[in-house]
Symmetry: C2
């Protein structure tokens, strides 16, 4: 339903803001949950709550996609699921290759969230000959030598890198040379790629460091307040102001080492 189609709301299809794109998967998840509960429609208010954003932002986001709601009523859940899926390109099948089947790679291979949207793991690849032939998440791990062939035969355009940092750029280069144009990088390295190739980076330790920053703020605040006798008193004494030392800050040995599953 929804009026949709004939009237082209001007906005459609022309550059959706990056910030909006990043939230579409969030909305999609919330909508999918509603869909499973057979909820027919949602208001921007309800959906926003379920997705953890405010309703003005959600409405603005949707306005970039088109006018898919009905005033006075809300949004048709099924219809919106479809529209967002389509916008994100999830109505098609995306074969992906995963390179580096260590601890993290194995976890990713088992990750249900990949398969549950348009993604399909076409191959698991590891450079370690000892890994070849091992079964991870129901698939045989293949050797890196076959990378190009696999990409070509499966029409892969998205690659996931979960190798140690040292190998990432090299793997990336091969992926790109073989035709991959989008890369999800879990290795703690800055990858350099030619124009036209997208890279997204997930860095586990960075997230923790950001939390530590805010955590320190909280602790510091009360310390200052306590020292100056100011307002907002809130003080679990447990907040050891000056913890132990911290010698280690050792080598950047991030990403899990390869280790058979």
């Amino acid at each position: 339903m929804a009026t949709g189609r004939t009237h082209r709301p001007a906005t459609r299809s022309r550059g959706i803001p990056e910030a909006t794109v990043a939230r579409l998967p969030l909305y999609l998840r919330a909508l999918t949950a509603l869909s499973e509960r057979s909820v027919p429609t949602v208001s921007s208010e309800e959906l926003a709550a379920a997705a953890g954003v405010n309703s003005a932002k959600l409405r603005k986001d949707f306005s970039y996609l088109g006018s898919y709601g009905t005033r006075g009523v809300g949004y048709d859940v099924e219809y919106l699921v479809y529209q967002i899926s389509r916008e994100l390109g999830l109505t098609q099948d995306w074969p992906i290759v995963m390179v580096g089947i260590g601890n993290l790679g194995a976890a990713l291979a088992n990750y249900g969230g990949f398969a549950s949207r348009g993604f399909r793991v076409a191959a698991l690849i590891d450079a370690d000959p000892a890994m070849s032939g091992k079964t991870v998440a129901g698939m045989q791990v293949q050797h890196a030598d076959d990378l190009e062939k696999i990409i070509d035969e499966n029409g892969v355009s998205i690659g996931v890198i979960a190798t140690p940092a040292g190998a990432a750029q090299q793997v990336c280069d091969r992926l790109v040379a073989a035709g991959v144009t989008s890369i999800l990088n879990f290795a703690p390295t800055v990858l350099s790629v030619p124009d036209g190739v997208d890279v997204r980076k997930v860095d586990l330790s960075i997230e923790l460091q950001i939390l530590a920053f805010h955590e320190q703020r909280k602790a510091g605040e009360s310390a200052i307040e306590a020292a100056e006798g100011a307002v907002g008193v809130e003080g679990p004494a447990a907040k050891v102001t000056k913890p132990t030392a911290n010698d280690r800050k050792g080598p950047d040995g991030d990403v899990p080492a390869v280790m058979p599953a």
Copy 2:
């Protein structure tokens, strides 16, 4: 080493932009690498390249921390490493608990990047009795019953959730009740927490969906151009007013199922 120290440049310590905070770990990583190669100083240009940003942004970012560079010369590597570490709160020790030792949890436990900055895994916790006592990453997995005791005894203020989506909110509530004020959430759920508690979310499938969006753009561009040769017209008949079936959209079974390491 570097002029620094005595002069306090006005800016210091007052609200550093969130976008800047998010990049500090990036700079820190690049600087650490330089430090290991015993490079004494870097220019904003060089460091920016190593961190994958542009130099104007980097200089602006650093200007929020203070004036730690030397005009005509650059930045003292060791000094900057220290200043950024301090700013991020990494000069102190942060004990963390990890809840949910499935595939992903095990990978995280083995992740070198945690230990290599101020973080220390104080405990691995899983609700599955079959996991208790098992050794993962050199630590005994403990049962969820002991959560509160562990948090209290170790002064933990940061928790990592790697449980299935269904258990996440419940785990979160217990963490918060026990005194945790920062949470890194790997479960594909929106967590609700009281004011004063920070949550950061890492969602593997969201990142892939964002890539798919851009990937589709690339492909679509040429396809549409080829098909319509014209300008603004966009008329994929596919605009099925009433979505097709769209079967799969299966259960939101994200996050890896628990499975012994």
